[in-house]
Point group: C2
Chain length 363, copies 2
């Protein structure tokens, strides 16, 4: 509880460098560069590496000569497309902007990486280049979920790094997810729940009952409060801060939530255009609707984070525009400033060495 | 395609009887009886069995002496509560209103049963009293999901009968779910998809790839169109009519959708109360919002249906009020009129005997 100071925070002496993959998004490099400019304007102490094809990036970067000292172009001639298979990219990905972006973490030239590219390929390249943190058996992708909590968000993981997770994996997700919630949402002692088909202790598979015991046993070391099983309806609630589940279930839940929110907003849009009174009503309430739109805007919560690797990688939505890209890079900057990777690694080490003289709580 | 006439439709000569469990809902027997009255008024040819404690039901039923000829009270002194364990109810459930409601199907005194009680107990009692349709290995619960399709709904199963399903189970869910979509939604040849973490053929577990082949191979016999893998975001879309998945994933998706819709409507409500202009706007658009509310109202789509048993059981939401109960009983009446159980059983028999001189398509 007292050893937050044992980790040297990243200070202003050595600037923070964020590694950005400028290719591979659906909207092309111009959207990524525009998002990068937004963050560069907002954070004058941050440096950036812009990875991609020099011929395409040079003219885009030339638009803001005032930022030239803080944005370094790293030429990578090839691009990973959304159709490329992860296994192919893992073997033959050298020379792509994605590979180059991740390698900057490996070499230590940057602290956090951001990419809008193919999720499976990005996970594969990150795995092979960065390797897992000692003691982690399955890395996970964590996402934010709009919620009734004061911060406005909950954290859910895994939402798609792997389709399976055993009890021990779920316990590690609890540790990684609560560390992430502390560093990204500023929570002190996150409440963690396991996603299940009911809250009663006898519900669900034998594996989930085993996970129940493990999460309970490691709550103090992981510095979280274990609240038991939660249901799908609890994901956006204020009952819980961190929801752990396997990547198959988490991915389905995430996309079901997205699809449902889209359905409701489509219905709302057609309702507000259905009569002249409704149209007038919309005009009067327009500013309030604008705030609602902003609150629910998936672009503003853009960025899944890969947890469990020797490097922090933020996965932006493939279709992100400049606002979405800026949100993802903003998240990367927040994690870099918090020294998140060092804290997370120390936390995992302390849990793993439990019983053999545990280290302090650091993440 | 030509043998729909081989099944004798239920005709007006012998009235249709619906068996209703009047106890066990969160709002007590008065809400159930009120819902029953709504349906009795709307369908003057239908008879009802009202199961429950005579002392409680008699005064409630006495309010509508004009319906006395069509509503028969069946005394059952005991009640299954939401806390009772399914295994207990299965062994010691005799004398409860739930048991009595299901037994009316077994004895042939009614064709479809409706209950607001404990889902697990209802499934357990239904299993043990009605038994599975020959050839079905795992029964399923199917639900409606608000969607962009012309009917306004898609069908998803299993949403919680069992936590597991293998490839053969998923194939049977496709057959049962498309038969249900034909009879409850009036679709001719439903489009069926398997829920997965991506639409590409290489995604997901080996079991899902096996299911892919089985669903494809049985599409003609099942009279559905197999469209491949679908994602969570497709569940409310117009790409698909019937979504099949295991009961763990389906239950999580269902509750995640409910939770997300609730979150959006809570945010919408507070938005519309946030400023004087927003309040005025809401007043002008009030009728349009009323229609939206009705469209999204979970009470109007109330009723999961147990498929794969020798009897049709509609599970109403535990918290249903009279509107919700009326929707569930209305669904039961629709299925009874369609002769759904006979059609479904014939369809399953025809698929099972495929290769040995298949029967005609009947459901």
């Amino acid at each position: 509880m007292d050893s937050e100071t044992t980790i040297a925070p990243v200070t202003a002496e050595k600037p923070i460098v964020i590694s950005v993959d400028c290719m591979g998004g659906d909207q092309g490099p111009s959207a990524v560069i525009a998002g990068l400019f937004i963050c560069a304007d907002a954070h004058s102490d941050i440096h950036f590496l812009a990875h991609g094809d020099e011929a395409q990036l040079r003219p885009l970067l030339a638009k803001r000569r005032d930022l030239i000292a803080r944005i370094t172009l790293v030429h990578a001639p090839r691009v990973v497309t959304m159709l490329d298979k992860p296994s192919q990219v893992m073997r033959h990905g050298e020379g792509t902007s994605m590979w180059s972006t991740i390698d900057s973490l490996k070499s230590g030239s940057a602290v956090v990486a951001v990419s809008c590219g193919n999720t499976g390929a990005l996970m594969a390249v990150s795995m092979i280049r960065l390797r897992k943190i000692p003691g982690v058996s399955r890395p996970a992708i964590a996402c934010f979920w709009p919620s009734q909590n004061p911060s406005g968000f909950n954290v859910m993981l895994d939402v798609g790094a792997d389709i399976k997770a055993d009890a021990k994996d779920l316990m590690q997700y609890a540790i990684m997810g609560s560390s992430y919630a502390r560093n990204a949402l500023g929570l002190t002692r996150p409440r963690v729940g396991i996603l299940n088909v009911g809250t009663e202790e006898h519900k669900g598979s034998a594996e989930l009952k085993l996970a129940q015991d493990l999460l309970q046993a490691n709550a103090t070391l992981g510095d979280y409060e274990y609240i038991g099983f939660v249901e799908g309806s609890d994901i956006p609630s204020d009952r819980v801060d961190v929801i752990v589940t396997d990547g198959f279930t988490g991915n389905i839940a995430l996309k079901t939530g997205e699809g449902t929110a889209r359905l409701v907003s489509d219905f709302l849009r057609s309702t507000l255009a259905s009569t002249i009174w409704a149209k007038l009503g919309y005009l009067l309430a327009r500013r309030a609707f604008g705030r609602l739109h902003k609150k629910m805007d998936p672009r503003s919560v853009n960025g899944g984070v890969f947890l469990g690797l020797n490097g922090t990688v933020v996965k932006s939505h493939g279709g992100a525009d400049e606002t979405g890209v800026a949100a993802a890079i903003g998240l990367a900057i927040r994690l870099a400033r918090a020294g998140f990777l060092e804290r997370l690694s120390a936390r995992i080490a302390s849990v793993n060495s439990a019983g053999h003289g545990a280290a302090g709580n650091t993440a």
